[in-house]
Symmetry: C2
Subunit: 278 residues, 2 copies
């Protein structure tokens, strides 16, 4: 099953179930995160009926995710392009739901001149997890989606901690749908394109830490809840790793695609940098 | 004025106004964060009346804070003890509200053998801020409180990103009260004690980035809202900086104190480490 968060009228959104290509039916929650918080969400989705919603306008899949936890340095090829060694532990950092936006939304950037892409498989949590083992974590995966952990490299490299380059509001597209594991399979080809040129192309079979391992690891110190989102890292091919480095320009179109899940297409509006205040 | 979040019966909490030493009156919100979300919170607090609440049981001051953003390396003396240079930009990282707990709560740790202290002044946001200058940021400060950014150094040092050593649920005491700027003043002596021994003693006049500068800087990339919390960094004297390094033991009592604001007193329960799963 495929779930989405669709914009409706008056600035509202609804969770929705895909019933065909570009056809949806509304579900009884305002977004996929709220829907996954309903104990019987699977049964509700299986029995969903109503008016067909067409021409979907995708909101951020999880506009109110309590936690959006990202893993860096998780593909062997990307680790090598960044000049690092294979890690013993996952490198984790946090962002907030304000960073998220819809699958086809424009990304507006004010204040960075080094805007880079990171195509990623993202995992949606379906049930509460705390100090869980890997099998429990696998059972708690509600589904998979597509994300791009767009990164402001100038800000990211200002200090040792990446947060300020990663946590810009409305810069991380996510969606268009969450696909449940029974439909999605277990291996994913993750691709990124800039203005139609393939720049990233990796397979999740080369992940150092699998989705279930990441969820289990994170749950050792913090609870994960339905609707939380974990980004699993990006394969090789980011702009910063190119020689010379390459960054997104005003008007560029970034496509992020995972076979069997979906496709993000985001136009970038990059405004002149503003000076920092501190 | 001094505001607190107090536990009442049945697992509930209420925002409350201090009317005397250890005497409070309830305010019309479940916690200080929700109270600051009310447009007329200052007037509501000034006119609060009702039954006196005594023997306060402090919950985490902001149990549902949308953002808890921390600054590292912000006191000259702490920067030097960590072997670093004075920074041009604030080092920022994020945690979630699940990390917070009450001023006198026990801190339970399972899985770390290197539990360290970081006494900090924390700033509570009182109105929405986005791309604000320093004056606007100063106006948006609702008040100040006391926090201890308790850090699991073994996990913190596993990777380049500190998140996994900083974001353990229910390990960051915060409170007991938020004091508004008119009562709190502008300079604060931040002290930490382990079993009665003074281990940290710094003054916020030596901060590299002031509270208002931090709020302004953060607001350049993400919106801050009423009830969000910003931790301003810790002065010298953390256990990791000692020779030999010193960490909290089972049964230790950590006191964190800021003159004019308040005092946290937390007993640590440190259980045998569990092996990591990844």
């Amino acid at each position: 099953m495929k779930l989405a968060t669709l914009r409706t009228s008056g600035g509202r959104t609804t969770a929705a179930l895909a019933t065909g290509d570009d056809t949806y039916v509304a579900l009884p929650a305002s977004d996929v995160g709220a829907f996954l918080g309903l104990e019987n969400w699977r049964a509700l989705a299986e029995s969903a009926e109503g008016e067909a919603l067409t021409a979907p306008d995708f909101a951020a899949l999880l506009p109110h995710a309590g936690k959006v936890i990202c893993c860096g340095l998780n593909y062997g090829d990307h680790i090598r392009e960044m000049g690092r060694e294979l890690p013993e532990y996952p490198t984790l950092f946090a962002k907030y739901a304000d960073t998220l936006l819809g699958a086809n939304d424009a990304v507006e950037i004010r204040g960075s001149g080094r805007v880079d892409w990171e195509a990623e498989l993202a995992v949606v949590v379906g049930s509460e997890l705390y100090q869980a083992d890997v099998d429990q974590a696998r059972e708690a995966i509600a589904g998979y989606t597509v994300a791009n952990d767009v990164s402001m490299r100038d800000w990211q490299s200002r200090t040792l901690q990446w947060f300020q380059g990663k946590a810009w509001d409305a810069t991380t597209p996510v969606g268009p749908v969450m696909v449940t594991p029974d439909e999605a399979g277990e291996e994913f080809q993750v691709r990124g394109y800039v203005n139609g040129e393939l720049v990233q192309d990796g397979n999740t079979r080369t992940l150092v830490f699998s989705p279930a391992q990441l969820l289990s690891y994170i749950s050792q110190f913090t609870v994960l809840r339905p609707g939380d989102l974990v980004l699993t890292g990006t394969p090789g091919g980011v702009g910063m790793g190119m020689n010379p480095p390459r960054f997104l320009q005003d008007g560029d179109i970034l496509v992020t695609e995972i076979g069997g899940i979906g496709r993000l297409e985001n136009t970038f509006r990059i405004h002149a940098p503003v000076p920092a205040t501190a």
